[in-house]
């Protein structure tokens, strides 16, 4: 089980990563998160939409209505240039964090092997 405290600081990063290649909408993003993490992590709706709001406010993403031929209009999200910049910063930050934490993690201490 993943501690949600650690991952919360990176929910914005996760969403931005999924928007790098193409625009997407709520359910597609949450599905991709589950799949890419091999079902180890699934983002709650409230976390997802809080992140959308935060990212929009900071102008890291923009939203628009897709024109679906059938059914309801979906809200699509697109990453902005400053969003990409922010993503790169977060990647650097994570590498550093990982290095720091790794200094205090003893391999084989968790008793898995």
């Amino acid at each position: 089980m993943i501690s949600s405290d650690v991952i919360r600081g990176y929910s914005d990063t996760i969403i931005l990563y999924l928007l790098l290649d193409q625009d997407s909408y709520g359910y597609e993003i949450s599905k991709s998160i589950k799949e890419l993490s091999s079902e180890k992590y699934s983002m709650k709706e409230t976390t997802l939409y809080s992140a959308f709001n935060r990212l929009s406010k900071n102008e890291y993403i923009t939203s628009y209505y897709g024109d679906e031929t059938q059914g309801k209009r979906r809200t699509y999200y697109r990453i902005t240039e400053s969003g990409k910049k922010y993503y790169r910063e977060k990647c650097k930050e994570w590498k550093l964090t990982k290095e720091v934490i790794n200094c205090f993690i003893e391999e084989g201490y968790d008793g898995d092997d």
Binding site: K44, E45, T46, L48, Y49, N53, T75
Partner: protein, 329 residues
């Protein structure tokens, strides 16, 4: 799907329904439905799928915090919506039923008034023609007058009952809050009501357009016969009475829906100006009537005196639009 909707409505209950919040709730709803559908396609039972979807919803406080809304504020009426009444679906339906009743009371009242006028005309003309020799013209008029006043008294009683009923819902004129699903439900009901409204208005307009026909017919079939001509007039008035009844009942329901959904004349901005215009109207019209009665009785100027009504009507219309335009800015 219904379960998801109910769950979300409960989660968002008491949250101020801004445009932003309605959009958010609708996005989350679509998202959850898609997830539910896919789980079911992957062979999960309905209960399992619902269970998973709801367990993955998360914590509403996280969302509200992000949007800068505190749940307690909304629930206890903390700062922004202090004292703003909250309209439930039951309250909205109760209001609609009451408005329907008020519509019928007012409509019947107006009908009785017109019937009174018909009575007056018919009785006096009947007496005039039938009892010409005995000089009983006056008696006929008196009986007509008495009948008319009895009917008008009945109408006034109905108007008072309707007015008292209406007074109970004064708070609807002020701003209020309503849950997302109540609004949706009422929008659906309004849509269902539209055909009835249209039919009633069309029948009313047709009756008004056709009402001179009995008059023409009566003058064609019996020239110089007062009794038949009176029948024509009575028929004309009767058609107008029915049309008015239809306009009032249909209009009041339409009006009530607009009020509940805060559209048309009842957008939060307009609510303020409506009160100003209403207050002005409640002073001006009785005043005009008093002036008319004065110049009529004292100076016997009934005939050219009536122009005071159309003139006031036009001036009042101008005044109302000026108030509207000013308040818009």
């Amino acid at each position: 799907m219904e379960t998801i909707k109910t769950y979300l409505d409960n989660m968002f209950a008491g949250v101020l329904q801004t445009e932003e919040m309605i959009q958010l709730q609708s996005d989350i709803y679509d998202n959850m439905c898609e997830k539910y559908q896919e789980l079911k396609n992957n062979g999960k039972s309905e209960n399992e799928a619902i269970g998973i979807v709801i367990s993955e919803f998360g914590n509403i406080d996280e969302l509200l915090e992000e949007f800068g809304i505190s749940y307690e504020d909304n629930k206890e009426g903390g700062n922004s919506d202090c004292g703003i009444p909250h309209i439930s679906l039951e309250a909205a339906h109760e209001y609609m039923t009451a408005k329907n009743k008020i519509g019928y009371l007012t409509g019947i009242g107006v009908g009785l008034c017109i019937l009174g006028v018909i009575m007056l005309i018919v009785t006096s003309v009947t007496f005039e023609t039938a009892q010409n020799h005995f000089a009983m013209n006056m008696q006929g008029s008196y009986i007509g007058l008495i009948l008319m006043f009895i009917l008008i008294t009945g109408a006034v009683a109905l108007f008072i009952i309707a007015g008292v009923q209406n007074g109970q819902y004064e708070y609807m004129k002020k701003p209020f809050r309503m849950d997302f699903y109540v609004k949706r439900q009422l929008e659906d009901e309004k849509r269902m009501y539209q055909p009835t409204f249209t039919v009633k208005i069309i029948i009313g307009v047709v009756l008004c357009t056709l009402c001179p026909i009995p008059l023409f017919i009566s003058s064609i079939i019996a020239e110089n016969n007062d009794l038949v001509a009176t029948g024509g007039v009575a028929m004309l008035l009767l058609m107008i009475a029915v049309a008015t009844f239809l306009f009032i009942t249909a209009g009041l329901i339409q009006d009530a829906y607009q009020q509940l959904l805060e559209i048309g004349d009842y957008t939060p901005d307009k609510k303020k100006t409506n009160t100003i215009v209403e207050v002005a109207g409640s002073i001006i019209w009785p005043l005009v009537t008093a002036v008319y009665l004065y110049i009529g009785f004292v100076h016997n100027l009934w005939h050219p005196g009536w122009v005071i009504y159309p003139i006031t009507g036009i001036l009042f219309g101008i005044f109302a639009s000026v108030v509207n335009a000013v308040s818009k800015r």
